[in-house]
Symmetry: C2
């Protein structure tokens, strides 16, 4: 049904439309890309492509624009992910290498991604449930107030306050600290919950209330956070660089950016950094975001993703470049995280 030339035409339409954001007609198409055929022929091909649902006319006397299905075909079959220039790669690594802690890595990544793709960037913090306990610290702030600090293998640091009604014994705390670390260090947070339960039993009954309070708080920290995923967003100003219909649809996007739960759904399941997920227009689960696409991928180790990062932009974005940038950033972040 669709011979090679028709696909060439589709590719040309997508590329043109992405560049100009204006419906493209048969004449301009042959002018701009050298297709070696006449406008009339292109028109016939266009009619066929429209028949198949890959392109559409906004109104009778206008050119064609790609449909979501058109973009889909383009992404799947008609384009190759663009690789970054060595200069860009170098810029990425050196920018990321300057990060001073995990928070900083994430902040820099968001910024970087937004800048390179000129879209809205979203980076999920490395999830706790895939990471393991590196260290647990119990600090007495005042005689009745303790601070728990949990440091994970990904460098994430969680803190919790525990209040007590009686003064706590410093020796007991030291004891607890060492036992907690012995019992939990190196364990996955998901597994650690079971080991944690056993710790209470090691202590004298008189000390158990305090120990139990701490254990409970730790338990909450381990599990609670799994649901309440943290996310960083950046580059919202990029939504305004289209003199476009899209610009009028900025509201739902901005609203989505405020709702981290929605963003998590948009990003979807983390995949390994080799695999790029692209959701085009209404392929994403939200009605209001029918004119936006998402390009996402996992990051973390080569084999297993810790979390997801990606960008959100108009359906008429430059997929090859954007996909290249997302993939590259994901790889370099993975690398940085592996090193530290």
């Amino acid at each position: 049904m669709l011979d090679d030339r028709k696909l060439d035409v589709l590719r040309a339409i997508v590329e043109d439309y992405v560049a100009t954001h204006e419906p493209v007609g048969s004449k301009t198409l042959v002018d701009r890309h050298n297709l070696g055929v006449s406008p009339a022929t292109v028109r016939n091909d266009m009619a066929a492509l429209e028949e198949e649902g890959y392109i559409t006319q906004p109104h009778t006397s206008a050119g064609r624009i790609p449909t979501d299905a058109g973009y889909r075909l383009f992404v799947d079959k008609l384009s190759t992910v663009k690789t970054l220039s060595p200069a860009e790669k170098k810029a990425i690594t050196s920018f990321l290498a300057g990060a001073v802690d995990l928070d900083d890595v994430v902040r820099r990544t968001v910024r970087l991604l937004a800048q390179i793709t000129r879209q809205v960037a979203i980076v999920q913090y490395p999830s706790l449930n895939r990471s393991s306990v590196r260290h647990i610290e119990v600090v007495t702030m005042t005689p009745r107030r303790l601070l728990l600090v949990l440091i994970t293998s990904t460098g994430r640091v969680e803190q919790r306050i525990v209040e007590q009604t009686n003064d706590v014994d410093e020796q007991l705390i030291a004891d607890l600290r060492s036992r907690l670390n012995t019992a939990l260090a190196g364990q996955r947070l998901t597994e650690a919950t079971t080991s944690l339960a056993a710790v209470t039993d090691l202590f004298a009954p008189a000390d158990r209330p305090l120990v139990a309070a701490i254990v409970t708080t730790l338990l909450e920290t381990f599990t609670d956070e799994v649901g309440e995923q943290r996310i960083a967003v950046g580059g919202a100003a990029n939504l305004t660089r289209y003199g476009d219909d899209f610009e009028r649809n900025v509201k739902p996007v901005l609203e989505a950016l405020e709702e981290h739960v929605i963003l998590l759904k948009l990003l979807g399941e983390a995949t390994n950094p080799q695999t790029l997920t692209v959701r085009i227009g209404h392929e994403n689960p939200f009605e209001e975001l029918a004119t936006t696409s998402v390009v996402a991928t996992g990051y973390g180790s080569k084999s297993e993703a810790l979390a997801t990062l990606g960008i959100v932009g108009p359906t008429h974005m430059d997929y090859p470049s954007t996909m290249g940038a997302v993939r590259a950033v994901a790889r370099y972040v993975s690398q940085i995280l592996a090193d530290s």
Copy 2:
């Protein structure tokens, strides 16, 4: 020059314009507010007000809109900060009370402020330079990698990695940990830098390289962060609820929200929670933000502000309500922080 009635007229104009976002004319004004005089009289007053620069006409045959000076006068003399309803107050405290750590307090505050004011909310993290050292923890992650954790009196936790070329001695670390805490606990970060320098001398020359590395990193943490202030932003979607000229000027605002340095300048110096800073239109230091106003105030203890929070919105915002909300949120956050 400006008798009471003229001021009443100005007040009416501001209130009307804020409500409708349309230039207000003499007739509609007497209809809507019962001023007890005829449109003709109001016209004379308007002419006077325009003469004085408080209002202006977008074009000859249109009504008047307030100038920045008009809003200024309104805020300073013609309005009283609106207090929140008991229900709202209760909602604020209960929402903030659910916070689990400092990060969470800040996140919740931003969200809250954005929701109540329906504007873009900005909250600066409690600044390090006004807070003091509560605890310093040195953790060995691997034999050659140390993690420094600094806990401040405001509950903020900073982490830094220190790499060593040789394996470090666990005993030395313990020693260092206790000395650091003895020397620094309770001190302001700004003062702590001097005490910190003295710590190195307590150690044997052989140990000094390691100690110096840690001290240097701590020093950086103390001072570096003073410049690189952290900020949380929320409610950007509220920028889109004006069917307005303002909506077309969203770009510079979104851009400003990305640049934390700019936001810090916008918020300005922290004041105590009693004092509200209002910057109207071009009163703020950025040319591109001439159609936006900022309402900000400090928060922290009663007497001394730790940091600033506030909102950014169109010059034609509802100042009395907004100011009330900002002040209330600042007070309750201060309270929560004081308790924890």
